[in-house]
């Protein structure tokens, strides 16, 4: 485990629902992000920020992951936008880029929550 990864995730580990055990599970977790644009970029960026250990993502997004964590295990995934990519984005939002960004952060949030015993 790199010291940088431990330091980077301290503010998240401090959440009582994460803690040592939740953060250890995130370090060991793997995720897959498909598609392109701001949605996929933000999903990758937040997942790597959260300390995820293995990530499958389109090659074009690997540099974003490496800029944050040069120890994350990367593999390729499809750059084709998945169906229902914008599910869960509230109707009140109108700007396409803002909606895409929301969807990407939501994708990362759901993966992080799935690694925790007791998400709030």
């Amino acid at each position: 485990m790199s010291a940088a990864r431990v330091l980077r995730t301290l503010r998240q580990k401090r959440l009582r629902e994460v803690g040592e055990a939740g953060q250890a599970r995130l370090f060991a977790a793997s995720a897959r992000v498909e598609g392109e644009g701001l949605r996929a970029e933000l999903a990758v960026r937040y997942l790597v920020g959260a300390g995820i250990g293995e990530l499958a993502a389109p090659t074009s997004l690997h540099a974003i992951a490496r800029a944050v964590d040069d120890t994350v295990q990367l593999s390729d995934a499809s750059a084709v936008e998945p169906a229902n990519a914008l599910a869960g984005v509230p109707e009140v939002m109108t700007d396409p880029e803002a909606r895409a960004a929301f969807a990407g952060a939501l994708e990362a949030l759901r993966l992080v929550r799935s690694c925790l015993d007791r998400a709030p």
């Binding site: 980077r8 959440l15 994460v18 944050v68 009140v92 803002a98 960004a101 952060a105």
Partner: protein
């Protein structure tokens, strides 16, 4: 989608400001994106402040923002902290301000200065697993003080103490950027309060103006910026 046109000020390039800046730059916004932050990147920021990578640690936060400029969009990046002394100049020519600062004193300062200057203000905050985005149109109420009245006097939760979930902050940044763009497109709603749950669900309420509001009420007590109003509670954080 009508291209948004105008000048947006983004206060703070933290967990909220970083995704908001990226969205605003890519939205087709024509005009100026002014950003202000006097901080440098810390490794502890990296999980949620997505404009930055390892190579930026120790560098000014405004540097990566300068690279967001596009044809038709000027980025005016200032290594300045929003204070009673600097806020009026920061707001010059601004159509809408997005506050992504990390403490209540700055949030009230920006909301008051915007209200006094008739500038629309989007106030965004996140800590732990929750966040809120409030919109004021800058043409009378409802305003941030109609909802929250004043700077809290006691201790409030700070990211450093209780932690913050990175992707949750991203949801708040996206909602704030969208609210600012809706305002520029003539679709902004004064008094709109969006709250984000720990699972990422968004609820919308529209808050009414209060006739006794200190800023936008019938007999306002705040008619200019007085430094003492924005020092109490400093260090009281609402996330970044």
């Amino acid at each position: 989608m009508t291209p948004a046109r105008g000048t947006i000020l983004l206060v703070g390039l933290g967990g909220i400001g970083a995704p908001a800046a990226m969205i605003l730059a890519r939205s087709g916004l024509t005009g100026t994106l002014r950003v202000c932050d006097d901080d440098v990147v810390d490794v502890l920021n990296l999980h949620r402040q997505i404009l930055f990578g390892q190579a930026d640690v120790g560098r000014p936060k405004i540097e990566p923002a300068e690279r967001l400029a596009r044809p038709g969009l000027t980025v005016d990046a200032r290594a300045v902290r929003a204070t009673p002394e600097t806020i009026d100049e920061l707001l010059l020519g601004v159509d809408v301000v997005v506050d992504g600062s990390d403490n209540f004193a700055t949030k009230f300062l920006v909301a008051d200065a915007a209200g006094l200057a008739n500038v629309a203000a989007i106030t965004a905050a996140a800590v732990e697993w929750r966040g809120t985005v409030f919109s004021a149109t800058g043409r009378g109420g409802p305003c941030y003080r109609c909802l929250f009245e004043d700077v809290p006097s006691g201790p409030t939760p700070a990211c450093a103490d209780v932690g913050v979930m990175g992707p949750l902050v991203g949801l708040v940044g996206a909602l704030a950027a969208d609210a600012a763009l809706r305002h520029l497109r003539g679709q902004g709603v004064g008094g709109e309060l969006l709250s984000v749950s720990p699972a990422g669900a968004v609820r919308r309420h529209v808050v009414g103006a209060r006739t006794d509001c200190a800023l936008c009420g019938t007999t306002p007590r705040i008619t200019r910026l007085v430094r003492a109003h924005y020092t109490q509670g400093l260090g009281a954080s609402v996330g970044s």
